[in-house]
Amino acid sequence: MLTRADLAKYPFLNEASDYIKELGISIDDIASPDFSPVLERAEKRLEEALSKGRVSNEFNNENAEILSFPVSNLILSLTGEERAQRRFALAEAKRAYELLRQENPEKLDYIARTTFGWKLKKIDAQPGKRFYDFAISLTDYLRNSVHLKEPKWKLPNRILDHGLVYATREELARLLEEEVRTRIVNRSGRLPGEVPKLLQPKVERTRGLITKWLGIPSHYELPKVPSPEAMPPCVRHLIDNLAEGKNVQHMGRFTLASFLVNIGAGEEEIVKTFKPASDFSEKMTRYQVEHIAGKRGGRTKYTCPMCTTLKTHGVCYKPDEICSTIRNPLSYYKRKARILTGRGPKREPS
């Protein structure tokens, strides 16, 4: 079904790993001069991903294209930089998407089935104006669609028939992009027992690239002092409701407490926010705040629920322009704080 040219396009496939095994190549062969095109391409992949968020195609040397992918992955894993691994995975997944969307349905079906274990059916349906090539099993659809924000991916906006979600070829390619991204992220971080010395300078150079394009690792520069003006409408609404002595449901309280914990508000301050509640109990509030902050019970620090969750439970309130660009109230806060302090949005590598 797949040719070597396909493996060069999609080096993350099971078949690509099998192909490398068949060639009898191991990581120690990297030092050989025959491999310089592979190393070069591996570094280029990284540089492109980090600088542009895209990876180009170089199909004139198919073997280098196939072999360089795991090498890029290895170098990146050795840097231990997770955000760079995520950026690389996204860039490679986008590259795959651009190629996948041009494939015929048979090949898409094959890749979805064999590498990713999807259950899907090739169909030929036109219930309305649009033409659908695929019906994907609900669980395979959801695992990937939940990462996609556009309303068209929401389940109520899909055709769902006996556990199968209709999708066009283009849509299938987009869902596969998500699957590819997850696969690459999960793969990175896996290290072989011994790493050839030759790779060390490459790792150092990549660290330099990461700093150059992604900046110094930071905790996203939260304002030092909690800044009420930067809070999203839902959180401000919750605080207002509490201040007026109105009842706030469990989900709202959890959202508020976890939000405040995560922006670095002090325990005293958080407890004080809940004080006007008509059923306020200082002991209970303190206990729960400590729990959310990870100082009690399971010791997990809870993060703030996602916007989609807040919508489902009716906590989302009058979303504004910034809301349409974020998926979690904490991101709203970071973004708004940056705007307010006049530092503008953080520069993205163009």
């Binding site: 219930p127 609900l138 939940v146 109520p156 006996h162 556990g163 009842n247 008509s278």
Partner: protein, 382 residues
């Protein structure tokens, strides 16, 4: 008791008489040892986790989640039944104002929204819960493709029904994926345009197009919902009297045939959108979203008594849902008891009618006395 599959991989919880907190993180190697524990503890409520764990007794983050049943809860609390003023009432916790029916969002006197509610269970409410359950099951099978064999239906022993799906495939769904399923059943975020409702221009005339009857999923259901709507009283849904009479004079059977979106004179896109939003509301299944999206939920054990009523939470054969009588089949007590009733609406159990009562001492069959005691409407007489 009617324990779930893989009973040893689950966490169990009990609420004891007079207990303020749930006794939880318990595990039992088999249904027999669970039964022994229930007999020893005599709990008010018995729960099990919808989740499967490697270590069910460990603290929450060390349990090792391996999956969870897909569960749905339909409860009259979430329904707007017209009988609520007859049997439910509320009291403002701030100023003491009282009223009948479901509690308003804000107290009309002091604008506070902290309310104390007293609810009751009646035929009407449970009938509506049953109808919501039927819609839910239909969507689970026809749209979501859930396997009949993996599905169990239970009466909750109070004001609603529970549906459990015991399937390997759905057990791996995460919270976000389950939220999408909940949104689907409620049609939350449904955009008619994404179901191809649109206006195009054909030779200078504007022509509306949209989904058709019989199409899969929400598309056909939207049209079926409009069909139902037009067959009922629909003058209260926010249309003008001209629009209502235009729709009245139109033959709704046209909905079953060819494209109809442009065939009603005087009805344009915005009217169709109003009709669609009402149709979708009618056709959606009003589940409790929190229950479905929580992958660590503790849920009532079928075959145990519900401490809110003394009624049995029990399995209902799906094909019998229609004829299932929640006021006859889940009755568990025999004999008679004397109780002092503060206040209670009239109610039916089996073929007997009881009440209403107000400040009186009555000798009642135990089933009725238990219901009043559990609902805190009466006190026992020693």
């Amino acid at each position: 008791m009617d324990p779930p599959p893989s009973p040893a991989e689950r966490e169990y919880g009990f609420l004891l008489f007079g207990g303020k907190f749930m006794v939880r993180h318990r595990a039992f190697k088999d249904p027999a040892s669970l039964l022994t524990a229930v007999r020893d503890l005599v709990p008010l409520h018995v729960y099990f986790s919808t989740a499967y764990y490697r270590e069910p007794t460990a603290p929450m983050d060390a349990k090792g989640w391996t999956g969870a049943d897909l569960v749905f809860d339909i409860d009259a609390d979430h329904l707007n039944t017209p009988c609520k003023p007859d049997h439910d009432n509320w009291k403002c916790k701030a100023c003491g104002t009282t009223g009948n029916g479901g509690a308003p969002k804000l107290c009309p006197t002091c604008k506070n929204d902290r309310m104390e509610e007293q609810t009751w269970l009646c035929d009407r409410c449970l009938q509506e819960a049953k109808e919501e359950t039927a819609k839910l099951l239909e969507m689970l099978y026809t749209d979501l493709g859930i396997d009949h064999e993996a599905t169990r239906l239970f009466f909750s022993g109070h004001r609603g029904y529970h549906v459990h799906v015991y399937s390997k495939q759905t057990s791996q769904l995460g919270e976000e994926e389950r939220r999408e399923i909940a949104d689907y059943l409620l049609a939350q975020g449904l955009d008619p345009q994404l179901h191809e409702l649109e206006e195009t221009s054909v030779g200078g005339t504007r022509v509306a197009e949209g989904p058709l009857m019989g199409q899969p999923g929400w598309r056909g259901r939207i049209v079926a919902g409009i069909y139902d709507l037009l067959g009922s009283e629909f003058d209260q849904i926010g249309l003008t009297s001209t629009q209502v009479s235009a729709l009245r004079s139109w033959d709704r059977e046209d909905l079953l045939r060819k494209p109809f979106w442009s065939s009603v004179k005087g009805i344009g896109m915005s009217t169709w959108k109003t009709l669609i939003s009402k149709a979708v509301e009618k056709k959606s299944a009003r589940i409790d979203t929190v229950v479905t999206t929580d992958i660590h939920r503790l849920i009532r054990m079928p075959g145990t008594l519900n401490g809110h009523t003394g009624l049995l939470a029990m399995k209902v054969q799906e094909e019998r849902l229609d004829e299932f009588d929640p006021f006859t089949e889940p009755l568990a007590f025999q004999g008679e008891m004397k109780v002092k009733v503060k206040e209670s609406p009239g109610f039916r159990l089996g073929d007997k009618q009881f009440g209403p009562y107000r400040d009186e001492t009555v000798q009642l069959p135990s089933i009725a006395a238990m219901l009043l005691l559990c609902k805190h409407r009466a006190e026992p007489i020693a």
